[in-house]
Symmetry: C2
Subunit: 336 residues, 2 copies
DNA sequence: CTGAAAGCGCTTACAG
DNA sequence: CTGAAAGCGCTTACAG
């Protein structure tokens, strides 16, 4: 039933397998009449070309692999959807692999992709330059997502953390705030570092009068709460706080509320990420929204270019997906 | 570089390709010394067997396909994670395909899976018995998820809507409520229908004195709100409301609150799904939690059985994943 | 234990 | 336009 091969179709149509192949792949080099007979035979036999055989001979799998740290949660959910839609639009299948606890597991997953995919989308904390050299065939088109090992020249797509942070700081400055504190992310975290970089740059260049004020944090709500307590103790007190992510901003607001400080009247707050909860907290949180689905779809587009036109994308190409300021109540924009 | 084939390894190790194949696939039928030489050669050449060639000859892809309506949102996020983890545990790759707007698109996706997968996990609103007959080769192991077309004998895994509803009604009864109203889901929706069935059964059998009271709804928060308005107008008024899903329960609570009715003191409320918001609303919502990830992992397990031991799973096998009562404030359990 | 050979299902020069 | 044949990279009886 499902075992019909090209031979069966050839016999049924009374032609050679070569003609069947030609007729079914665009129909070049066969008469319309022959093609019709072949298509009818194929239909009758419920013929579906065997994917593996075709892969073997054409060296094309029409499949891309996505190696992700996880599949769960809003971030990955959106990411994979962006990838999936873009892949489908190009007629590519999607092979996913996730949850690699350590570098070894990621390496195994990476090697297992070989021969199954025409290209790779890769997001992994284990993917340093050395890891990639060891486990990636150099001729396999690959796009790194939010992963940029120094010293490797793979294409990479990342969130524009720097640009997003600039938007937020400029927004706060525009509202008249001058003492703007920054709650940092985990030490060594690249996203957090880039956000801090944007924060420092804007303060330094736009208004030399505003010194950078940094507080330690680790992306957790608790660390934001602790930072909020520190803000309360500072003299002079900051008039705005920009947290490297939303959860810390929310924790910080909780600390201020406990102390009877009004947000945004007394202190303005900004976050980063636009998590779903951001619009539900009180006051609703002004933050930076990142288009995660776009991260996926643009990475897929970049990969598609490489697959279709090898060499068309220069090694080491870097692209960013934009971040957008979402003004809500916590920054007090309506009041200013 | 990545082009090393079994021939290259054979030459490098000074043996035949047959020996290479044997050594690399378990090592049966080769001396330890030969095997060692071959493994070394393979390592030196960064040899990775070509997946397509292996698929072609072994008729095994070590891949399962998952056809889903979407990938986005909490439900699918959890589902696909359950599938992914279970697949990985069995050493199977996962090919995903989603967002098929119509039956034709789903059919194309289904056919494209052929030859690429050893089995299929399928969730689709388009999958009626006729559709499956047309587009599924009958010898491809398949498990339906929350999709049970009448007249087909595929294996199916579903959420235990009936059991979950029973738990909720029994919970409300145990708290002393007798006039328990039910807010229905969209007409024709199977999940909603099964929940209503469970509701009716428990009322009928456990306490003949409690009549079923149903209100129309469509799973939306607004429809829950409208049902809440109706509840307010009823005489005698129900002392509990069981909504077929959480969003309607939340809408219903909003209507009661507006009218100054206290939940749970005056009317108890129960929902179904345990959406993330359920714990954040005031009062927090007593509801039925379904283990979505388990739906995925159990479906994968059932599929794995079929792949490994063809015929071991009787046609038409039905299984359920459990639902669990989550008691929060809205049912007033602490008060009773 | 080891190797030569057939064959999985397809595509694509190469002749005719 | 059409077909016979080679070959993609692998596995597996079949001999030795």
């Amino acid at each position: 039933m499902s075992a019909a091969t090209i031979k069966d179709v050839a016999r049924e149509a009374g032609v050679s397998v070569a003609s069947v192949s030609r007729a079914l792949n665009g129909g070049h080099g066969v008469t319309a009449e022959t093609s019709r007979r072949i298509h009818e035979a194929a239909q009758r036999l419920h013929y579906v070309p065997h994917a593996a055989a075709r892969m073997l001979i054409t060296r094309r799998t029409n499949t891309v692999g996505a190696l992700l740290p996880d599949l769960y949660g809003e971030f990955f959910s959106e990411l994979i959807r962006g990838i999936d839609l873009a892949a489908r639009a190009r007629g590519l299948h999607l092979l996913v692999s996730s949850s690699h606890d350590d570098a070894d597991a990621a390496a195994v997953a990476l090697r297992a992709m070989q021969g199954r995919v025409d290209g790779l989308l890769l997001m992994s904390p284990h993917a340093d330059a050395d890891f990639l050299r060891q486990n990636l065939p150099h001729d396999l088109p690959t796009v790194l997502m939010n992963t940029r090992p120094a010293g490797s020249d793979y294409c990479a797509l990342s969130v524009d953390n720097d640009g997003g942070a600039r938007l937020m700081v400029e927004h706060l400055l525009s509202l008249g705030h001058r003492r703007i504190a920054f709650i940092q992310g985990p030490p060594g975290n690249r996203d957090a570092g880039e956000r801090e970089h944007g924060y420092r740059e804007v303060l330094a260049s736009h208004t030399p009068g505003s010194p950078a004020i940094t507080l330690e944090g680790d992306f957790s709500e608790e660390s934001g709460y602790r930072a909020g307590r520190q803000v309360l103790a500072m003299r002079p007190r900051p008039d705005a706080v920009f947290a490297a992510n939303d959860m810390m901003a929310i924790g910080c607001m909780a600390a201020l509320r406990e102390a009877g400080i009004c947000v945004p009247e007394e202190i303005a707050i900004g976050g980063f990420d636009d998590v779903p909860m951001a619009r539900y907290v009180t006051p609703s949180l002004t933050t930076i929204q990142v288009h995660i689905a776009e991260l996926g779809s643009q990475a897929m587009a970049l990969l598609g270019e490489q697959i279709d036109h090898p060499g068309s994308v220069p090694a080491g190409t870097r692209r960013h997906v934009g971040a957008e300021l979402v003004v809500r109540a916590s920054s007090g924009a309506a009041i200013a």
